[in-house]
Amino acid sequence: MAKARKTPAILSNHMMFCPGCGHGVVIRLIAECLEELGQDKNIMFGIGVGCCALLNIGLEADKFNALHGRCGAVCTAMKRVNPNTTVISYQGDGDAYSIGIAESLNAAYRNENFTVIAVNNTNYGMTGGQMSATTMPGQKTATTPLGRDCEITGLPLKFPEMVSSQFNVAYVARGTVTTPGNVNKLKGYIKNALEAQLKGEGYSLVEVLSPCPTNWGMTPLKAIERIEQELIPYYPLGEFKTREAR
């Protein structure tokens, strides 16, 4: 018999994401994990700027919309003054990896005990699809209308790989929302990350490859296809730093 999936209690408002966007799925998974871990009434969010900021109206929870890129710093302090409260930094690739790279890296460097969920849709979604640090080679965006030229803009940034290989952190993974199987795996990663935080193991990060049909100029199904065919080969899925390995 099919199991009824109950909507998490803190997930009470309408989201405002575009059709086919991955953010809504990610937020749902976070809410489910928090409820299952008994943390849905013991949670604070730092929220980035960009589409991730629409989390502001999606969850009934304490949340602070940080300045662009500064979630790493805001969440550092929130967790330090509330060591027994779960803290999540919810950011996009532009917020976490471009303007906020200093705060993101330094929070990981210090092994701050909070969880970063970074939704990577390979562009600046809210401002209309400009190039970000994770834009793929040749990808057309509003600021790379001829396709990203990596000779002058650099190669797409692999933040999870960077953090997991260079820093003393607790847990790092990359998932996606393309199939039910991948969604289930992603939920496992998010739960692992939150459990690492709950046990005080340190910094945890889950990057999510997420479709942006609006700015990619694709149907939602084509956008999912793009992730499977183009993004996953460059941004491999899986756990880069597992808790067992510590």
Binding site: A66, A73, N82, A102
Partner: protein
């Protein structure tokens, strides 16, 4: 009188006693002793000390602490305070109570390491994007620095806004005898996050900017009415009134005493709040006063604008307002006296 204490250390200890339990900052001369002191002191009292990766991260950590209702503060100087402006603007818009200590060093860009008052206009006009103000407190002694730290936190929480302590490099670095207040009970502000969604913070997306603006105007009007602070003397019979804050203010007060001993009818107003500017002090001035003179350590004259505006509000037509801008350092009393004589002789012209 208490022990000799360095100004920066004294402010740091005063903050701990005022119940501050989060400090985040980045080293910069001449403010660094504040964070050096707190690097061990915060741990002793169960507080949080974070050496941030930048001034930007520092102010945003303070924002994180303040959002949870913890008395939180940072300290910096010159370009470091410039980097914090976006965060100060954010905290002002979010109506977070926090304290920023600016140990002012003179200069543009990287500037100098020399004491000065070149940040007056920036501090009193908000400094970041948007239409907001911070309460700006200006000590002139180590003891007053200590006293104003406590007041800064109290006012920040009373009005849910940013308080700035605008001290000066020399005052941060010098030692004076000083008494510390008793330890305050450490408590979190009831409006802070508790993880349980007790206080529903309205996100920037959901706010009504017009209603917010009206509420801020009302709040700032109440502060202007209730929180002006200054020290004054000899205003009733003054022909000329000096206006000067901080260490130059202290020097000016000495110069005024000496000028009076020579028979000159001069008085002084030493603003303790640079914002709200102590307009009320000007109501105590001799109606037949011949002019106002600001003594400032910057190059263009900054506070002179506020004095001129205040004089205009008092409807004193054609009242000359002079400025003695001594660039940086602390002006000597004899220099102020000589320049006063030049003003009297018409050798230094009024600015307004």
């Amino acid at each position: 009188m208490g022990d000799m204490v360095k100004g920066n250390n004294a402010m740091a200890e005063a903050a701990v006693r005022a119940g501050a339990r989060l400090f985040a900052g980045y080293p910069i001369t001449p403010s660094t002793e504040i964070m050096e002191y707190l690097s061990t002191r915060m741990e002793e009292v169960g507080g949080t000390f974070i050496q941030a990766e930048s001034e930007i991260a520092g102010i945003n950590m303070v924002i994180g602490g303040a959002a949870c209702g913890v008395r939180s503060f940072t300290a910096s100087s010159g370009p470091g305070i410039s980097l914090k402006q976006e965060g100060i603007s954010c905290a002002s818009g979010e109506e977070l109570a926090l304290v920023v200590i600016n140990v002012v060093r003179y200069g543009i860009g990287l500037g100098t390491l020399v004491t000065g008052q070149s940040d007056y206009l920036r501090e009193t006009r908000g400094g970041g994007n948007g239409d907001y103000r911070c309460i700006v407190l200006c000590p002139s002694s180590v003891q007053e620095s200590v006293d104003l730290v406590t007041l800064a936190f109290d006012l920040a929480e009373k009005y849910k806004m940013v308080s700035v302590i605008m001290t000066e490099g020399a005052l941060g670095q010098m030692m004076e005898p000083c008494d510390f207040p008793e330890f305050q009970e450490v408590k979190r502000q009831p409006w802070g996050f508790d993880g349980k969604y007790t206080n529903k913070r309205v996100s920037p997306i959901d706010r009504n900017a017009i209603e917010d603006a009206a509420a801020l105007v009302k709040k700032y009007a109440a502060i202007k009415e209730n929180e002006q602070r200054w020290e004054e003397a000899y205003l009733e019979d003054a022909d000329y009134v000096f206006v000067s804050f901080g260490l130059p203010g202290r020097s000016t007060m000495g110069a005024v005493e000496q000028l009076r001993a020579l028979g000159h009818k001069v008085g002084f107003i030493r603003p303790i709040t640079a914002w709200p500017f102590p307009e009320k002090a000007f109501e105590n001035v001799n109606p037949n006063v011949k002019g106002f003179i600001t003594v400032e350590t910057n190059s263009t004259g900054q506070m002179v604008d506020d004095v001129a505006l205040t004089v205009k509000r008092l409807k004193k037509a054609n009242m000359p307002v002079y400025c003695l801008p001594y660039i940086y350092g602390i002006p000597e009393m004899k220099k102020i006296k000589l320049d006063f004589l030049k003003i009297q002789a018409g050798e230094i012209k009024e600015v307004y």
